[in-house]
């Protein structure tokens, strides 16, 4: 593990909302090929960390570095929020954010948005290049849909699908962008036990088949302990510990943060 390159590095990142310090001098790193969990009680600042990493918030202090497709370390602050996907960094949202009045397939194609090279004029004229590009993207989507076992329902609207399927579509959409690092905000929330087990296998398969690194926020401790190589615990925006799951469970400051809470 030591020899692996660092793909994401947070260096003393802080984020304030008015008087509230949501993230407080947080440092952590994620290595290539790892599955890392970010845990902490409600309101600990986990989602805020994701929003800083993906540049939705620009007002943070400290530095966030990412290793791009060429293997160079880049300062994410230099990139616009809409350029992050192109770098190979893609996320999901705590409240599933899909386009309900589009088919599942079309939602996946949105994930490939930045891969398209043809422009609107070519689309209007329906040029050969535009058609073959669209076809290529669709074939890629079919593969991912089959991998996630939702190929049969690809033409249905997203509206009306059960929650478990919605979560899968969101993950499928991230895969469309050829990510190096996928960050998942509570992927298991709202899933039943069977679906959670399935998700565990799925995340492992994603890492193997798509050669990605995964950083995830999750409240389900069983899930986190089963799946993660390392876990980072935070409370009130502050770093508590980062270690392998077994040690995190035993860590006194982590236990204290969760004291009085289930699990």
């Amino acid at each position: 593990m030591e020899s692996k390159k660092t793909i994401l590095e947070l260096n003393k990142v802080s984020m304030h909302f008015g008087g509230l310090t949501a993230v407080d001098e947080l440092s952590l790193d994620v290595k290539e090929g790892e599955i890392v969990g970010l845990i902490g009680p409600n309101g600990a600042g986990k989602t805020t960390v994701f929003n800083c990493v993906t540049q939705f918030y620009k007002e943070y202090t400290g530095d966030i570095y990412f290793q791009n497709h060429d293997g160079d370390q880049v300062d994410l602050r230099d990139y616009k929020v809409t350029d992050i996907a192109k770098l190979g960094l893609i996320r999901t949202f705590q409240n599933v954010e899909l386009v309900k009045d589009l088919s599942i397939l079309d939602n996946l194609l949105i994930g490939a948005h930045h891969h398209y090279e043809t422009g609107i004029i070519q689309h209007i004229l329906h040029t050969k290049k535009a058609r073959s590009e669209e076809k290529r993207m669709k074939e890629k989507a079919y593969e991912i849909l089959k991998f996630l076992k939702i190929y049969e329902i690809k033409d249905f609207y997203v509206a009306g699908q059960p929650y478990g399927i919605l979560k899968k579509i969101e993950i499928a959409r991230t895969l469309m962008s050829d990510p190096k690092l996928i960050i998942l905000d509570e992927p298991a929330a709202g899933l039943n036990d069977q679906e959670t087990d399935e998700l565990e296998t799925l995340i492992h398969q994603i890492r193997e088949n798509y050669h990605t690194t995964i950083l995830l926020i999750e409240h389900d401790m069983g899930f986190v302990m089963n799946i993660c190589d390392r876990v980072c615990a935070i409370n009130f925006g502050k770093f508590l510990a980062m270690d392998i799951p077994k040690n995190i469970q035993k860590n006194p400051s982590v236990q204290e943060a969760y004291l009085g809470k289930d699990e």
Binding site: T54, F56, K80, V81, T82, D83, I84, A85, K86, I90, R91, F93, E97, L98, V99, K100, D101, L102, D106, L109, I110, G111, H113, H114, Y116, T118, I120, H123, I124, L125, H126, A130, E134, R173, S177
Partner: protein, 354 residues
């Protein structure tokens, strides 16, 4: 009617509808060809020319409303200034032609100017949302209306394109001659079909999906690399271009362009067409134009005279109550009803057999 009869019809139409499903743009062409037949009817004494003009209006409104559907249906944006851009298309074309420019150059100039103003509104839309955007666009429309009525180059109450439209420098089409008027009508239908195909290609492409993503979830859109600036601009430029094309169609067909008709009333009527006909639906938009402009003028007026507008008002309210996403979605109900009917007939057959 029995089930055999229904299956027979299905078999007959089967290959045809399969082909259309494979090439959706072909349906617009078929639709256009059917509509072109209207151009013949007045010459056969089956329709008067006034009726053809009402249908010409519907094609103009349909194109304009398609553009607005990009804003309302896809991008979650609004404009109350549509009429201003229809006016720009109509009056601009006339002014440039009267200045001696060829028709095609006039069209390019008008589209460029309108499109630029549309882009400015798009930029502005990043700063203001919802009701504020509505008010801002209302005033853009109002400013344009003032320009048309006050600035002398637009010349008083109306501008006339003398001698008609000259296509490619040699095909002269004037509203005065009946045959040429029919030709102009066909031209309008062709333009409408092309705009429908363009619209369909846009909404089925990355752009259409990006516009929807932007309006349904700004955050997810940005995380996927969809720039709000780029797509707000795209939405407004497209909407103004469609409206301007509507205006150009007006200038081509009527050739006398009033300066005073491009007011808020018209913008609101266009919005009503989108709402009543169908959000996000191309045929729905045409249907909306037909319901709002066609039904009162073609049907109700002859039956009821001036109070026809009251009836069309009531009709519109009923449509909104029962089909909040647009009347075009009645199609879904028709399909459901049809398969129910078929099932019932089939059951009758089997029970009869016993």
């Amino acid at each position: 009617m029995n089930v055999k009869f229904l299956t027979k019809i299905e078999e007959l139409l089967g290959p045809f509808s399969a082909k259309l499903r494979k090439h959706p743009n072909l349906t617009f062409v078929v639709f256009g060809l059917l509509l072109c037949l209207v151009a013949l009817l007045p010459h056969l004494g089956l329709m008067n020319f006034g009726t053809m003009s009402i249908i010409a209006y519907i094609t103009i409104y349909a194109v304009t409303a398609l553009g607005l559907n990009i804003l309302l249906g896809f991008s979650g944006l609004i404009s109350l200034g549509t009429a201003g851009f229809v006016g720009a298309g109509a009056l601009g074309t006339a002014v440039f032609i009267e200045m001696g420019l060829p028709f095609e150059l006039a069209v390019v100039l008008v589209l460029t100017i309108s499109g630029s103003i549309g882009a400015l509104i798009g930029l502005f839309s990043l700063k203001v949302e919802g009701i504020y955007l509505a008010i801002a666009t209302l005033f853009v429309g109002e400013i344009l209306r003032q320009i048309y009525t006050q600035v002398p180059i637009f010349g008083g109450n109306s501008i006339q394109i003398d001698g008609g439209i000259k296509l490619l420098g040699f095909i002269e089409l004037s509203q005065i001659f009946k045959e040429q008027r029919s030709m102009l009508f066909v031209l309008l239908v062709i333009i409408m079909v092309l705009m429908m195909i363009a619209m369909n290609n846009i909404i089925k492409s990355k752009t259409g999906r990006a516009l929807l993503a932007m309006s349904r979830s700004e955050h997810a859109a940005q995380a996927m690399g969809i720039s709000l600036l780029k797509y707000r601009l795209t939405a407004f430029v497209l909407a103004t271009l469609f409206a301007t094309v509507g205006g150009i169609m007006y200038a081509m067909y009527f050739q006398t362009i009033p300066t005073t008709s491009w007011s808020l009333d018209l913008s609101l009527f266009i919005i009503a067409m989108v709402v009543v006909g169908g959000f996000k639906s191309i045929y729905g938009t045409f249907l909306g134009a037909f319901i709002i402009h066609g039904i009162p003028n073609l049907i109700l007026k002859d039956l009821l005279g001036d109070i026809s507008y009251i009836f069309s008002g009531v009709l519109i309210i009923l449509v909104i109550i029962f089909y909040p996403n647009g009347f075009v979605y009645i199609w879904v109900d028709i399909k459901k009803g049809y398969s129910k009917l078929k099932k019932r007939l089939q059951k009758d057959v089997t029970t009869d057999g016993k």
